[in-house]
Symmetry: D2
Subunit: 505 residues, 4 copies
Amino acid sequence: MNNDTVIVTGSKLTIDEVAQVAINGAKVGIAPEAQQKLTESREFVYELVNSNVPVYGFNTGVGANKDRKVEADYYNQFNVNMVRSHCVAVGPEASQAEVRAMIVIRLNTLLLGYTGMSPAIAYMYRDLLNHNITPVVPERGSIGEADIACLSHIALTMIGEGDAYYHGEKMPAKEALAKAGLEPIMLGPKDGLALVSSNALAAGQGALVLYELKKLIQLADMVYSFSLEAFKGNVSPLNEEINRVRRFRGQNESAAHVRKLLQDSYLWIPHIANALQDPLCFRCACHIHGAVRDSLHYLEELMDIQMNSSDDNPCVLINQNAIMSCGNFEVVNWTVAFEMLGIALSHLSRAACFRTIKLSSEHFTGLPRFLTPDPEHIIAFGTIQKPFTALDAEIRHLANPVSMDFYAVAGDIEDHCSNTPYVVQKTRKIVDNLYYILGIEAIHAAQACDLRQEKEFKLGIAGRVVHQKIREVIPFLAEDRNLTVDIANAYQLLKSGVLLHALNS
Amino acid sequence: MNNDTVIVTGSKLTIDEVAQVAINGAKVGIAPEAQQKLTESREFVYELVNSNVPVYGFNTGVGANKDRKVEADYYNQFNVNMVRSHCVAVGPEASQAEVRAMIVIRLNTLLLGYTGMSPAIAYMYRDLLNHNITPVVPERGSIGEADIACLSHIALTMIGEGDAYYHGEKMPAKEALAKAGLEPIMLGPKDGLALVSSNALAAGQGALVLYELKKLIQLADMVYSFSLEAFKGNVSPLNEEINRVRRFRGQNESAAHVRKLLQDSYLWIPHIANALQDPLCFRCACHIHGAVRDSLHYLEELMDIQMNSSDDNPCVLINQNAIMSCGNFEVVNWTVAFEMLGIALSHLSRAACFRTIKLSSEHFTGLPRFLTPDPEHIIAFGTIQKPFTALDAEIRHLANPVSMDFYAVAGDIEDHCSNTPYVVQKTRKIVDNLYYILGIEAIHAAQACDLRQEKEFKLGIAGRVVHQKIREVIPFLAEDRNLTVDIANAYQLLKSGVLLHALNS
Amino acid sequence: MNNDTVIVTGSKLTIDEVAQVAINGAKVGIAPEAQQKLTESREFVYELVNSNVPVYGFNTGVGANKDRKVEADYYNQFNVNMVRSHCVAVGPEASQAEVRAMIVIRLNTLLLGYTGMSPAIAYMYRDLLNHNITPVVPERGSIGEADIACLSHIALTMIGEGDAYYHGEKMPAKEALAKAGLEPIMLGPKDGLALVSSNALAAGQGALVLYELKKLIQLADMVYSFSLEAFKGNVSPLNEEINRVRRFRGQNESAAHVRKLLQDSYLWIPHIANALQDPLCFRCACHIHGAVRDSLHYLEELMDIQMNSSDDNPCVLINQNAIMSCGNFEVVNWTVAFEMLGIALSHLSRAACFRTIKLSSEHFTGLPRFLTPDPEHIIAFGTIQKPFTALDAEIRHLANPVSMDFYAVAGDIEDHCSNTPYVVQKTRKIVDNLYYILGIEAIHAAQACDLRQEKEFKLGIAGRVVHQKIREVIPFLAEDRNLTVDIANAYQLLKSGVLLHALNS
Amino acid sequence: MNNDTVIVTGSKLTIDEVAQVAINGAKVGIAPEAQQKLTESREFVYELVNSNVPVYGFNTGVGANKDRKVEADYYNQFNVNMVRSHCVAVGPEASQAEVRAMIVIRLNTLLLGYTGMSPAIAYMYRDLLNHNITPVVPERGSIGEADIACLSHIALTMIGEGDAYYHGEKMPAKEALAKAGLEPIMLGPKDGLALVSSNALAAGQGALVLYELKKLIQLADMVYSFSLEAFKGNVSPLNEEINRVRRFRGQNESAAHVRKLLQDSYLWIPHIANALQDPLCFRCACHIHGAVRDSLHYLEELMDIQMNSSDDNPCVLINQNAIMSCGNFEVVNWTVAFEMLGIALSHLSRAACFRTIKLSSEHFTGLPRFLTPDPEHIIAFGTIQKPFTALDAEIRHLANPVSMDFYAVAGDIEDHCSNTPYVVQKTRKIVDNLYYILGIEAIHAAQACDLRQEKEFKLGIAGRVVHQKIREVIPFLAEDRNLTVDIANAYQLLKSGVLLHALNS
C-alpha cells in the first residue's frame, strides 16, 4: 500500500492508474463533480420508481424473466436475491490485484450518471479499495456479456456475505467489513443489476494484461537488440529512413527503440555483420514487434473507452427522462482485438524462438554448436530448444479464437456473447509464457556474447544491462548443469521489471 | 472497360481507385513527377552497378544464394532465370479483376523511388492494364513474405512467356502482347527481384476484399433494419444518446446508419415493440456490426500504407547513396488485422443466423411457426435453418488463424512469414458465405413482413427497398417449393449491389 | 461405364464397390432377399397407416412440426411438399461420381427393412445408376444430422423436378427420365422422410475420400522410399524387429511396405547412409504414415457400419410391431474420426515438407544447394519451398475441427450436429493438397538422384518406377524454367494413379 | 499407501494397475524373468562397449551432437552431464500421482530387453515407488518426441540432485534418499539416454487421464439417465434393437448401460414421455457418449501398446547383435487419438449443456421457468447457464489440435514432434471442466425431479443414487442463494467417485 491517491472522475481513468491502484495499492478518491452526478441520477431513478413505466431489471425481472413485474415493497429482497442468484462462478480466484482493478474500473464507469446506483454503493467500492478489503472472486463463469456471474461476488462482500481478503488475509466478508469499521450496505431498486451488470471483470483483468504487455514489448525489443549483438547481425533493417518508407506506427516505434537500445554497440561498425541478409527472425523483428504494438495501440484506444464509459443496461438517461434497454454491455470489438493481439504475440514468440535456435547454430554464428564452451565434453544448449518450442506451441494453441463459440442461453434471449474473460485470461497466459521464451533467448544471447572473440565486440546500452543482470542470476555455462533452475531465474528476472528499471535508471 | 483514368503517383492510391481499375476497367496513367523519380532511381542503380559494393539480389543471388556473386554480363540471363525459377505457383487462377488489382498496386508502390526498376517495366505494367492484357496468375504458392511465387507470372507475361488473357480470352502471353502491339521487355539488374518481390498479390486481393466488405457492412445494416421491422423489435438500443455513451466509432456509425435506414418505419411508434428487451442478436446488432467496422477502419489504415509505400527488398536509398537489405516485405501487422476481421465477421454471421432463427419462432414473433402461411399444409422455413448454420460453421472454421503456421525455409533464412494470401483468400470466402446468410435472413424478413397483420405496420426507407427487390426475384412463399433456387436468387441479389444502389438512388 | 455389376444386399457394401459404381460406372443390382425385405417392411408400414398410432414424419409433421397430424388423404402432397421444402442447399455441385456414391449407399442402407420405403423408390435409385442419370446435388447446406438439405435434390429428380445429368449432359430431370424411358415416381407415406433423412451425402463423399486415401497412403510410402534413396538415408529404422518392438499396426504396415518398396536399393549396403541418425522426417516416416493408417483403419471400420446399416428415423421395427423415434442419424463417432484423420494428415504433410527441405540442404545431402546442377548460374529449387509450405499451412488450417460448432435449430429441437459433410469436404481438400506436396517431394528426390555420383547408387523397385514416371513428364532441371508447369504435372501424375499401377504391374 | 503389490513384467501393465500404483500407492515388484532380461541386455551392451561400432547416445553424443565420439573413460561424467543438461523443464509440477505413473510405466517398458540399462537403475525406479520417494518433475518443456526435458528430473533424484517428495514432504533428493536408506546411483554407458529418452511423462499423465475418463463416461451416462427422468423424455431411442441396427460399439455400450441405469424408472410406462421426438441432446446422448467410448477404446488399445513396449532409441537388439537407431519414441498415432478424444468430449459437453438448458425451459418441461419454486419471487437457475457455457467454450478451445504445431529443432534434426504432453494436459483440463458441467446438469435434474408432480413419477436405480447424493450436499433450491457454493459441491461430488461407488454397492 502506498499513499498516492487516484481521483476517479468517470472519464479519465488510465491503464497506469488502474495498475497503480491494483498492484501498488494506491488509494482512490471520487471527484466532487462525479459525486454530484451520482446523486442526481439516483434521484431520477426514484422519480421513475414512483411512475408506472416498466423498466428492465428495476421494476421487472431480468433476463428471460424480464416480463415479470417487481413490486416496490419487494425491492430490497429482490435485489439481494439477484446478487445471490447471480453468484454462479467457478474457480480459480482472480488475483487480489485483479479484483482491485475490477473495482476501480466499475467505480469509475458508474460515475457518469448512466447507472443510477445508490451513492452509498459507489462509496463502498471506494472504501473496499481504501481499507484494503478484497472480495474473493472466482474468475470463471462469465461469458462476457457483462460479467454478472463473477462480479456478484463483489456485491456479496458488500452485503456481508461470502469471503474476502482483509489486508491479504482471507476471512468471512462480514468479519472483514467489521475489522475495517464498515457496515454492510442495503440495496435499493436497480442496485442489484448495477452491481452485477458490468464488464468490469474482463476490463480489470484486461487492463492489467495490457499494463504487462506495454512492458513486455519494451523487454522484447531489449532482448532482441541483445540477441542481434550476440548474433553479430546486420543493422541496416533498423535504418531510420528504411523504416520511414513504411509508415506503420508500431514498426517505426520498435525500430527507433532498438536503435536507441543499440547505442554504442559494435554492430554500427561498417561491414561488421556476418551476412548481407540475416534470417527474418532478426531482420523483421521490428516489423513483428511493430505488429504487436499496432495491435496494442488499437486495443488501448478501445479499452480507454471501455474504462471510461457506462456499460450499464438499462441505461439511465436523465436528458430523455428515461431508463432504456440497450446493448452497451456488448464488448465484441475489443474482445476480437484481444484475439488479434494473441495472434500477433504468437508471431513474436515464434520469432524469438527462431532467433534462439539461430544463436545455437554454428552455421549462422560461427560460434560452437549449441554454444558449448567445450565441444568435446559439454552438451550445453541442445535440449533447451524443446522447452521454448513447447511453450511456443502452447501460445499457438492459446491464440486460437474462442469469442464466437457460444449459443443461446437465458430463455434464448442471450444469443450473442464474446467469452471476453476467457479471451483475456488466455492472453494473460500467453504473456506469462513469453517471459520464459524471452528469458531463454536472453540466456542464449549472454552465452554467445561471452563466447565471442572479436576484438571489436562491444555491447550497446541495452545489451550491457541485460548481460549484467542475467549474469547476476545465471553464471556462464562452463559445464553442464540443471538448466531448469536457470530458466526459472531468467523468467523471474524478466517478469520482475528489473531490466527495464535498470535501463531507465 | 470504361474511359475513366486513374493517375497513380505512388502515394495516393485508394481502395476505390483499385476497384475502379480492377473491376470497372478504368485506365491508368503515371503522374509526371513519378516518372521523374523512376528515372532518377534507375540511374542511381546503374551507378551502383558499376561500383563494387555487393547488393542483395542485384549483383548477388537471392534467398539462401545471397552469398553468390552475379557478374555484370550475366544480368539479363540472371534476371530471366530469376523470373522463371520463381514461377512456382499452384491454381486456381486469381480472377482477372484481382490480377489487375495486383498490377495497379505494384505499379503504384514502385513509383516512390525505392525500387530502382527499369522505367520500361513500370510502363509495361501500365500498358498491360490499358491494353486489357491480364496475365494468368495461379493464386496459391506464396507464404506472404513477398508473393514471389505468384507475381513471377506477371513478369512472365512481360517477357512473353506463359499465358495471359487479352480482352478476356486466354492465349500465350507472346500472342497477347503482339495483338496489343507490345514488345516483350528486356530485364536489367535488379529487375527480376523488383518484379517478383512485392506483396502485391495479397494486397491486390485484399484491397478487393475490403472493397466488398465496405459494401457488405452497409448491406448487413440494411438487412438487420429490415429484420428488426419484421420482428417488431425495440428501437431503444438505437437511440443516439445511448450509443454516444459508448464512444466506439463503429457502433455509432452502424447505429446512425440504421436509424437512417429505419426512417418512416412503424417501429418508432411508442411501445409498438414486442418486448422490453429483445434477444441480443437484435439488440446488439449495431455493436457487432460496429466491431466489424472498427476492424475495417483499423485494417484500411494499414492497407492504405501498404498500397502507398515500397515493400521492396533491397531498398534503394538515394539520399544515403545505398541499396540496403531490409524487411519491408513483412506484412504481419495487417495480416493479423485480417485475421481479426474474420473473427469479427464470424460474430456478424452468428448474429444474422440467430436473428433468422428468431424470425421463425412463434414464441418471439407471434407469427406462425417457420413463417408458414398455412400451418396445416405448408412446411415453409423449417429445414432452411440447416444451410445457413452450415455456412456459418464454415465461417467459424475459416476464422481460425493461420498466419503463424510456418517454419524455416530457403536455407533456414526465411524463418518468418504470415501466409497473407491465404489469410486474405479465406476472408474472401467468408464474405461470399455472408451473402448467402444475409440473403436467407432477408427472405425470412420479407415473409414475416408479408404475414404481419398489424395495422400500424409500415416499413422504413431501407425495408421498402429490400422488400421490393426481394419480391422481384423471390415470390411470397404460399406453398412449399424448391428453396435452393430462392437461396441462389437472394445470394445474387445481395452480391449484385442492387440493394445499395436502389437505396441510394 | 463398364459392364460389371455390384449386387447390393444391405449389409456387405464395401468402399471399393462404392468406388466401382461411383467412379467406374459399374451397374447395380438388388439382391432378391433384399427385395423381399423391402416388400415386407412396406406392407408393415401400411398396416400402421391404418392404425391410429402417431408416428413421426409419417402421420405427423417433421422437425418442430412433429406435433402436427397428417391426414391420410394428404400423404402424397405432404410428401412432395416435404421433398420440395427440404431443397435448401447451396453450391457448388457435388461431382457426379459423388452423387452416384450417395445413391448406391442410400440404396444399400434401405434394404435392411428398417426404412419402410415404397419398393418402387428403391428400384428408382437403382435405375438412376444404371441409366446413368445423376441428379444435380449442391453439396453444401447439410449440418450432418442426416443430409436432408441436399439429398432432397435426388428425390427431386425422382419426381421429375429440378436438374439432372443424363450421360454427363445437364438437363431438366423430367427430360432425363424421359430419355431413359423412366416415369417420375409417386410418393406414399413416409417416403419423403425416407428419401431425405439419411447421411448418404456425407457417407458417399466420405467413402470416396477414404478410397482416395487408401491409395494416397501407398503413394506416400512410395515417395518416401524414393526420397530416402535420394537422401542416402539410414534403413535401420525400417528394420523388421525394431518395428515389431512397437506393435502398432499402421507403423508395421508402412515399415513392411517400405522395406518391400526398397527392395534392390543401394541403401541396404552396410554403412552407406550419410549419418547414424537421420532427421525425424525420414526416421519416423513410417510411424507418421502409420498414424494415418491407424486412423484410416479405425475410420474404415466405422464407415463400414455406416454404409451397411439403416440411419433412418423413425425406424421401422417389424419384430416389435412398431415405428420408433430414434437418433440413428447421429454420426458423431465417425465424424470425429475424420477430424483425427485430418490432424494425422497434417503430420504426414509436414513430414513430407521437411523431407523436401532436407533434400535441398547441402549440409544434409552433400549435394549442391537447392539441387542446382550449376551453382553459379542456375537457381533451381529455392523458391519452390514456398508453395509446398503454403499448401501445408492450408492443410494445417483445414485440420482444425469444426464438428462441434453448431447451435440449436428447428425450434430448438435439433441441438446437436456434427457438420459431417463439411468435415468430409475439408478432408477431401487436404487430400488434394497432398498430391501437390508429395509431387513436389518426388520432383526433388528425382533431381537429387540424378545428381548423385556414388558408384553404388541403385534405386529399389519403387524408386525406379517413380523416377521413370516423373522423368516422363518432368525433365531433369538443367536450367531455370517455369516450375509452375512441373508442379502441375507432378500433381497430375500422382493423382492419376499411374505410379501405383506401374508398381503393381 | 496400501499393501497391494503390482508385479511388472514389461508386457502386461494395465491402466488400472498404473492407477493403483500412482493414486492408491500400491507397491511394485519386478517379475523374475524380467530381471533376467535386464541382466542379459546389460551384458550385451557391455560387449558392444568394447567393440568399436559407433552407437548413438552410447559411445556418441546425442541429438545434433550425434557425430561426436564419447570415450570409454568418460562414460560416467558424460551420462551425468546428459542428465543435468537435459533438465530443461518449466513448471507447474506434475502431481505426485502423475510422477508415480511415469515411473511405473518407464520401469515396465525397460524390462523388455531393448533398453540395455543398468539393472541397478531399474531397481531404483522400483525403490522410489516403494519407499514413497517422488521426484519433483516440472510438467512442461517436452515436445513429446520422448519427454527428455522432464524425465531428466527423475534421473536427477536418482543421482541425488534436485528435489523430491518423501512421504509427501518436499526436500532435497539427497536427503530423501538418505531417509529411505538408499544410495544415489552411478551411471554407466547408455544410462543417461535410457533415463531421459522415453515418453513416460505423456504416457503416465495420459494413463491417468484415461483412468479418469473411463469413470467419467460412466458418470455421464448416469447424469444423462437422471436428466432424462427429470425431463420426462422418451426411451424409444434407448431400445435395444434400435441400437443394434447400428453396430457401433460405443453407442450400444452406452445404450445398454443407460437402460440398466433406468431400471425401475417411470419412463418405461408407455406414452409417459412429453413428446414423440425429444431434442437431440436427449435423443442422441448414447450416440454421443458412444463416440467418446469408441474414441476411448481406440486410444486404450494404442496406449496398451505404449505402456508395454520399448520406446527407446537406440534400440538394443540382442538377436541381431546390434544397437540400432530408430524412431520408436514417435507417438503421433496415440497423440492424434487424444486430439480426437478432446473433440468427442467437446460434443459430450455441448450435449450436457443443451440438456441443462432444456431442463430450464418451460416450453419443454412443463415445469416453471428456470426451475424456480416460486416464479414471483425466486430467480433460481437463470444465470447459471453462463458458467456452464463458459466452461464449455473453454473445452471448445482446448479441443483445438496442437500436435502438428512444431518446427525443426536440435540442429534441424528433430523436425517432427507431437507435443504429446500438452495434448494430454489439455485433455486433463477438459475432463476437469466436465465435472463442473455434469455437476450443474445434475443440480438441474434434481431440482426438476423435486418439482415434478406426476403421480407416476419414480426414479430408476441410477436416478435414486444421484438424487440422494446430490441432496446430501446441495439442498433443494427453495430460495435464491449463492450458487457458486453449490457448483463447487457438485463438482466435488462427481470428482470424488462417490456416485459410481454408491451405484455399484
